[in-house]
Symmetry: C2
Subunit: 397 residues, 2 copies
């Protein structure tokens, strides 16, 4: 980020083939700094020298360059959603990895292989059958797996409820079975459905209290539980109190997106990921410009459809990234996007063709950064409308 | 496809890491044969020795092995939606390629490069600005581009309406500018919104009549127009008359999907693409099994949401591919799918955990094969629950 050279290096956007995924570097850096500052504030309030570790979820970007920027800013370890992510980031030198999807028996050989190579890979479970399989497989291979129990604090997906008997059953099975019971983790993904600061703060507290409650129950049974890990982007940014929490996780905050805008935890000017596209035609009588970003470029994610403001397949911006208020992608086929007014009003007769002429480049802000990023094999890291670097992104399993 | 060896070769599905994309080979072969037979029938009805060529759209599978099976069955040339597809299939020996998305000036150098390498790449346009850019670029580089004019026969996307003055303006610009005006093409994508045989046949006729009308107008002006190209999977399978048509295009028919099932052009037993997944946990009190196929594995496509039957994120089948009627993926996070009853009724208390135990493999039929396939770098070609071959799929632009 040497400002002095920024204007002299790199490829102008006009020379980039479309569609392409752009990361606006100053925005990404600001998003990363904001999250670390938030963790620092909570640490100071608690007057706890150990503080709260921040463990970003690498599933959003799946890009070593992005994760390295997070670690440079103070993140400690990462979270992943697949073993492919674990293997890829480990190959890039990251060892402290939490695989945050419940492990099934047939994936244990891959977990073992990574640990034997020196990866400090932690796994999670929320049921006795999987816990027993971990114990059996660990004993058979002489491996002490490090395991967190997944806790369900908002009913949206997986996990054992904080007061369920199964929590202790699973904890005992792991600990007595010789595994390293590291602690508890939860993800209040229900936060994506909220849109007021009060509701977000309340769910943050519910997430914290439920996870801490589960930890206390395990400890009361004499079981070890050093890690209390919580988080989602909305709750991480809305929590007022993190008492008892040792670790916070969040993923999409690094890019943000229109869904997060509607949830209320960012502005459109914070959204760092966009899709560069080109106008390829018009249906002037309908007020449409046709662009070469269809759903393959944007993903099929329509996350804002049921939120307070529906952005269709994405918010249209000029090539510099300035929002063109009122214009969205109202439709998408595989490689065609339909750009028109969000309010359904017709633009003036020739207005659409004059405002968005053939060959014009635009940027489109996505509904959901995790889904849109996944459509690409690389990101162009952009500053001042110039591509500074191109970063590989991996996919698959 | 040597039946004698099918049981002795390959990897059992139990050894395949999940999630994974499976192609059920006998179904794919049947879908390919059915389309070619349909073309043959129409040819015989027309008593036209030249017949109707079938030019499959390779964007659905993006897989040379699939396209080779289509060509082996009688397909002549292919259709693509990106220049990356054109380059990839050309590298696999296919030369007759129609790039069916309106070309913009900045993509012409790539088109030229492919043609100079020997690729018989045809491009399309629907406006005078792009047509003039093609002429200017062609003259500048001494290249006679082969161009089809895109015609809008159902108002759903791009194209010039059959009776618009612009059709002749664009045709004259191309022809008088020294380009090879090859003909007209249209895609009645509005067929995806229909669900009765009568409506589908009516739209097929509208597509045919509109495209033939455009061709006749060009010819009446003394302009060449040898190609009249129509198609979408629903209209290709529903057309009763193809008089005046020289070429039919279709893509998703090779795999079919739940959207096509709801449109009424296939049964669930025809769907050749599925996602192999594993049960990773339960929320028994809610009647949920959690599987490792979330939206990253299925795509975010919810194409059946506004159709007569909503399949959520996909129809659940057993590992052999038999539909488990009434069970769908009702929800999806990035790497978690929620399997439950489609009718919202609770399964019996422990029923869900007994019926779908931890570690059980299942297959999920997708809403939209083009979108689901795009989430993978490879397909496993399966027959009798054994992986016969693994085929590379490419993505990106």
């Amino acid at each position: 980020m040497q400002e002095a050279t920024a204007h002299h290096l790199g490829t102008p956007l006009a020379q980039i083939d479309t569609p392409a995924a752009l990361i606006e570097l100053p925005r990404m850096q600001r998003n990363i700094a904001r999250m670390q500052e938030r963790m620092q504030e909570r640490m100071q309030e608690r007057m706890n020298a150990l503080g709260v570790r921040f463990r970003p979820h690498a599933k959003t970007a799946k890009c070593p360059a992005v994760t390295q920027a997070q670690i440079a800013a103070g993140a400690q370890g990462i979270t992943v959603s697949t073993l492919k992510e674990a293997a890829q980031f480990f190959a890039h030198g990251i060892t402290d990895i939490l695989y945050a999807v419940g492990t099934v028996p047939h994936k244990l050989p891959q977990v073992l292989a990574l640990r034997r190579q020196g990866c400090d890979l932690k796994i999670v479970t929320d049921n006795i059958a999987a816990a027993q399989a971990i114990v059996d497989f660990g004993r058979e291979h002489g491996e002490v797996f490090e395991v967190l129990i997944e806790v369900d604090t908002d009913g949206h997906r997986s996990g054992i409820k904080p007061d369920e008997a199964a929590l202790i059953t699973v904890g005992r099975a792991l600990h007595n079975g010789g595994m390293h019971l590291a602690g508890v983790m939860t993800h209040a993904g229900g936060s994506y459905d909220l849109n007021t600061p009060a509701a977000l703060t309340a769910l943050s507290e519910q997430e914290r209290a439920g996870c801490v409650r589960a930890a206390e129950r395990l400890r009361a049974e004499g079981l070890p539980c050093s890690v209390v890990s919580v988080g989602s982007t909305p709750t991480a940014l809305s929590a007022k109190d993190l008492t008892g929490v040792t670790e916070v996780r969040a993923g999409v905050y690094v890019f943000f997106d229109l869904v997060m805008h509607n949830v209320g935890v960012c502005s459109t000017d914070d959204i760092a990921l966009s899709v560069l596209t080109t106008v390829i035609g018009h249906q002037a009588d309908k007020g449409w410009a046709i662009v070469d970003a269809g759903w393959m470029a944007m993903s099929r994610d329509r996350g804002t459809q049921k939120q307070s403001r529906d952005y269709g397949y994405g918010q249209v911006c000029d090539v510099e990234g300035q929002v063109l208020d009122g214009y969205v992608l109202t439709g998408a086929n595989q490689e065609h996007g339909i750009l028109s007014r969000a309010d359904g009003l017709l633009a003036g007769a020739d207005d659409i063709a004059q405002r968005f002429p053939l060959g014009m480049q635009l940027r489109i802000l996505p509904n959901h950064a995790c889904a849109t990023g996944a459509q690409y094999g690389e990101y162009h890291a952009v500053e001042n409308a110039v591509v500074r670097e191109t970063w590989v992104r991996f996919g698959g399993w």
